[in-house]
């Protein structure tokens, strides 16, 4: 039995197979419409989430399965002091697979140690969010046709943004990847990621502050939101939150094939006017999120269609 704890749980070959399956699901959804008939997905969300929970639930419903679960800690036995280990033992009796989001880092690993059904880590605090990374990889591969030979701009909060950290870990496994790290000084990529991931794998990268300087040479721009909850004081957040705003004028500096991705939700970092630009891929990314989660559910349940 397999679980998904981190985006690196799959080898590059396994990942290729998963993305191929997601591609086939996109091409022939009707073929998979009853693949999980009679199977149940439990969504255990100890903290609120819109996209991730609904995306997992939509994925299971698209496969003909059923869903059950809770969407906040308040509506679960966690308020009575129940441990993650006990909750997952109980859920294992109710469902065939589960997706869990919990504010504490490492909570998904505790769940998988006590579970008799596959566990999908749907976010464990600031630690891992592997299904977002799978979504990003499928979006890039589907729209660019490759995951190698690319210059990727990562923009915004590179210090606390776990989606950016996970994406870097996942992409350095492909040849000829280059990064441009675009952030204010205060939100630079942590040195341990630069040293242990980029330098160790001999990945070329440059650090810039101005988005305009990076835009002309990128194949892909990954924007992130500056998250209020990461700041200790309001003043710092207010100073940082509108540091980068991608608008139509800046998009004129970018090449005709440069894609714009964003894990969403966005606040001000991408102007609404950019939504109409054919290079804006962040809403397509949401759709790819469903396909990749469908492929993941089938893979972890070992269902072949």
């Amino acid at each position: 039995m397999r679980h998904l704890m981190s985006p690196l749980d799959f080898t590059v070959e396994e990942l290729d197979r998963l993305l191929d399956l997601a591609g086939d699901i996109e091409a022939c959804p009707e073929k998979y419409a009853h693949a999980c008939a009679g199977k149940k997905l439990a969504t255990l969300f100890y903290e609120p989430s819109t996209r991730t929970r609904l995306s997992h639930e939509a994925a299971m419903l698209n496969l003909g399965g059923s869903i059950l679960g809770f969407s906040s800690a308040e509506s679960s036995s966690a308020t009575k002091g129940e441990s993650v280990a006990d909750t997952i033992r109980m859920i294992s009796c109710y469902a065939d697979i589960c997706a869990m989001r919990h504010p504490k880092e490492g909570s998904a690993l505790v769940a998988c140690e006590h579970s008799s059904i596959p566990v999908i880590n749907a976010g464990d605090g600031g630690h891992q969010h592997p299904t977002q990374t799978l979504t990003d990889l499928l979006t890039i591969r589907s729209l660019k046709g490759r995951l190698d030979h690319m210059k990727i701009g990562l923009c915004g909060d590179l210090k606390f943004g776990r989606t950016v950290h996970s994406l870097i870990h996942a992409l350095v496994r492909y040849p000829e990847i280059e990064f441009v790290l675009i952030s204010p000084e205060e939100l630079k990529l942590p040195s341990y990621i630069r040293r242990d991931v980029l330098d160790k794998n001999k990945i070329p990268y440059e650090e810039v502050v101005r988005l305009e300087d990076a835009l002309p040479n990128l194949d892909l721009l990954y924007m992130t939101r500056v998250q209020k909850e990461r700041f200790f004081n309001e003043e710092d957040y207010v100073r940082m939150k509108d540091f980068y705003i991608l608008d139509s004028k800046k998009m004129e500096l970018a090449g005709p094939d440069m894609l714009v991705l964003h894990p969403l939700p966005r606040v001000n970092e991408i102007s609404v006017e950019v939504d109409k630009d054919p290079r804006a891929a962040y809403f397509k990314q949401v759709q790819y999120g469903v396909y990749v989660r469908m492929a993941l559910i089938l893979t972890l349940l070992e269902i072949e269609v």
Partner: protein, 151 residues
């Protein structure tokens, strides 16, 4: 003036831990859970040492297969372990960093699941032997290395 010297008798079977950093023997006592064992332990603090100036020494009288000493490598690489049988040194054991450490150190990350989950062991994994880096098995936070003496 007569210089006072302390004499501690030899042991028939057990371990002599030598070259412990001066003043750290009580930490070792705690890490090895010696308080929970019913065996004879001698702790010599601030003994004279040509190499170290001052050092601590511990003598533990117990069957030699009784104790897992690997954790000592994590705490202090420079400790020498002499294995005693029939009052003689039969082996000088080399220390190797343990691949994982259970309930010796605690994860300090307040966002880690170990901070709230009942009955969960505090496990640290050796992720980089070269830099002697240990990370929490659950949140992957790096252990800050305090209380450790490296090579």
């Amino acid at each position: 003036m007569v210089e006072n010297t302390l004499t501690v008798g030899s042991i028939s079977e057990g371990f002599v831990l030598d070259h412990i950093q001066a003043g750290k023997s009580m930490d070792i006592y705690k890490y090895l859970n010696l308080d929970k064992l019913d065996c004879c332990v001698a702790i010599i603090k601030n003994a004279k040492s040509n190499k170290m100036g001052k050092k601590d020494i511990m003598k533990i009288e117990c069957p030699i297969d009784f104790m897992d000493l690997d954790v000592l490598a994590f705490i202090d690489h420079n400790i020498t372990i002499n294995i005693i049988k029939d009052q003689k040194i039969v082996e000088k054991r080399e220390l190797h960093l343990p691949k994982q450490i259970k309930n010796i150190i605690r994860c300090k990350n307040p966002r880690c699941i170990t901070s709230i989950e009942q009955g969960l062991d505090h496990m640290f994994i050796l992720t980089d032997p070269e830099t002697e880096t240990y990370r929490c098995k659950y949140c992957e936070e790096k252990y800050d290395g305090r209380h450790r003496r490296k090579k």
